[in-house]
């Protein structure tokens, strides 16, 4: 199996060379919040604004045609990356949150009626809870929740019991941002379809974890954000099956999403433009394409093996930290370590390890129901990417031990 050249990869991410407090090298363990960007992505944005600034789908001039071609080639890259059948099934949004809101506002308002049921899970990010609650207020639909066990694994038996002929949509996270759990979404989708429901996959965390094939998953909707895939912030994707997109009304309206406008009647544009009103994040979409090219340049199998190694090493060194309790011990996990330490609040852990140069996130991670499940106000969370190393995990574990000493001496 090809081995990753981690030093070379690290060289591609200039932010890894940043010094933190007290001039210590930054150890960036907050990749579930956002990832660093490789030079290829950064220079794409720079180059766009230096040489290709133009609006798209409008001008007949050279720059506009060039920018349009690059923008649309990014869409094709996303299609291939997700294994979607058609390029027009890829809608650009500003991120996962907007993608879910698009589905709730467009599909939800048109097709979900009073008494219809939507199933989500107990480990959803707030962005896959609140849009459905708003829809519930508007339509009178019912929201049901798949529970998870104390290891952080969804209880599929309970999920089966929730499914009924009234279930219209099952919307679940692929990889939990606060537990690291990799959910069996293919099985979840299969069961949803068997009950006559549609399925949405929140791939915000999974898109950087392992290759995704929407054809194989057979999901109806899938959402992700560019900035968690080494791309820029402010750009994301909604994938949806053609027949669904065709049946859905526009989400926002304005320029570019129309074919013709008179004061009597407007004819909407074809897919995907029907869902992309206004001037989009052109440079961001093009840079997202570069991010995908970057990921594609690395061996997928080697990436998976390397992250498995990081996961095992992280569990090993963190289990040696006195008083540390790991939150989320699913069998299938991404290298996300969420934990609490006896007698030390997560925020204090965050500030103390920051002194040693380690950037982690502390708090509820926008998953308050997960915290409620475990009866804790929040966790400290280290989330790793392929440019992180075992040595960094060792430094992190040592910093934790040092912090505990300060608190308990």
């Amino acid at each position: 199996m090809p081995v990753l050249d981690i030093d070379k990869i690290r060289g591609d991410f200039p932010n890894l060379a940043t010094r933190g407090r007290d001039d210590k090298p930054i150890i960036y363990f907050d990749n579930a919040a956002t990832t660093f960007k490789p030079c290829q992505v950064i220079s794409s944005t720079h180059s766009h604004y230096c040489h290709r600034t133009a609006n798209i789908h409008r001008g007949v001039h050279y720059l506009s045609e060039e920018a349009t071609a690059e923008y649309e080639s990014s869409r094709e890259k996303v299609r291939a990356f997700l294994g979607a059948r058609n390029t027009f099934e890829i809608i650009f949004t500003k991120g996962s949150t907007e993608s879910i809101n698009l589905v709730a506002a467009s599909y939800g308002r048109k097709f979900i009626k009073s008494g219809d049921e939507i199933i989500i899970s107990e480990m959803e990010h707030h962005s896959n809870i609140v849009p459905w609650q708003l829809l519930r207020e508007e339509t009178g639909c019912v929201l049901k929740v798949i529970p998870f066990d104390d290891n952080g694994e969804l209880i599929l038996e309970e999920y089966r019991k929730l499914l009924s002929p009234r279930t219209k949509l099952v919307s679940v996270v692929h990889v939990s941002n606060s537990l690291g759990t990799v959910n069996p979404v293919k099985e979840i989708i299969r069961l949803a379809h068997a009950a006559g429901a549609l399925a949405l996959v929140d791939a915000a965390q999974s898109v950087s974890h392992a290759p995704i094939d929407v054809g194989d998953l057979d999901c109806d909707f899938l959402v992700f954000s560019g900035h968690k895939l080494y791309g820029p912030t402010g750009v994301g994707v909604l994938y949806a099956k053609e027949k669904l997109l065709e049946s859905m009304p526009p989400y926002q309206s304005g320029g570019d999403m129309i074919l013709s406008v008179t004061f009597e009647k407007t004819i909407f544009n074809r897919l995907p433009y029907k869902f992309e009103a206004g001037t989009p994040n052109i440079a961001g979409v093009i840079a997202l394409g570069e991010a995908i090219s970057y990921v594609n340049s690395l061996d997928a199998g080697a990436l998976i093996a390397y992250k498995k190694d990081l996961l095992a090493h992280g569990h090993k060194v963190l289990s040696q930290v006195p008083g540390l309790r790991m939150i989320g011990m699913a069998k299938e996990k991404a290298p996300i370590f969420s934990f609490v330490i006896d007698g030390i609040h997560a925020h204090d852990i965050g500030t103390l390890v920051d002194r040693e140069g380690v950037a982690i996130r502390t708090g509820h991670h926008c998953t308050q129901p997960v915290m409620k499940h475990f009866g804790i106000p929040g966790t400290a969370r280290a989330s790793l990417a392929f440019y992180n190393t075992k040595e960094e995990l060792d430094i992190f574990a040592a910093a934790l031990k040092k912090s505990i000493k300060i608190f308990h001496e």
Partner: protein, 151 residues
């Protein structure tokens, strides 16, 4: 640990975190409010017993929070006892200025005493809210507000 860290987690703060003073649900009390920092989940109740002449006879707090918010609540309740309502409000204003670097801890004009251990916190903007949560809650209690949020 580094000097910066010592600035924030000084012995007196760690000690108050470990053994917070007046860490009880005071009953009966004349004033009470609940303070919440939605960002981190810190959650405190502040209780005051104010005499008819406007003197704070008892001050207490209870709840969940980080070392900074707990130590701040503990030291605040110690500082408040015996103060008038007007003095407590003035102290709140001084403390607020201290943690946002608007007040020099070396200034002879201030009445903060031991509370100046929090003077280094302005270097950690994300932690200023932890230090000031108990104070905001106390101020809300005096203003008869039931809940106070840092957001």
């Amino acid at each position: 640990m580094t000097t910066h860290s010592e600035d924030l987690y000084q012995q007196v703060i760690l000690e108050h975190n470990k053994r917070p003073r007046n860490f009880v649900e005071l009953s009966p009390c004349s004033h009470e409010a609940e303070g919440y920092n939605p960002l981190c989940g810190d959650h405190l109740h502040v209780y005051l017993r104010v005499s008819d002449s406007g003197v704070i006879e008892e001050a207490a707090f209870h709840g969940d929070g980080c070392a900074i918010s707990k130590a701040s609540g503990s030291m605040m309740t110690v500082a408040l006892k015996g103060k008038t309502v007007a003095e407590a409000k003035a102290l709140f204003e001084e403390f607020r200025k201290l943690v946002t670097k608007e007040l020099d801890p070396a200034s002879p004009e201030q009445h903060l005493g031991k509370l100046t251990v929090f003077s280094g916190i302005w270097k950690y903007p994300s932690r200023v809210k932890c230090a000031i949560l108990a104070w905001h809650t106390m101020n809300g209690a005096l203003d008869q507000k039931k809940t106070v949020s840092t957001e």
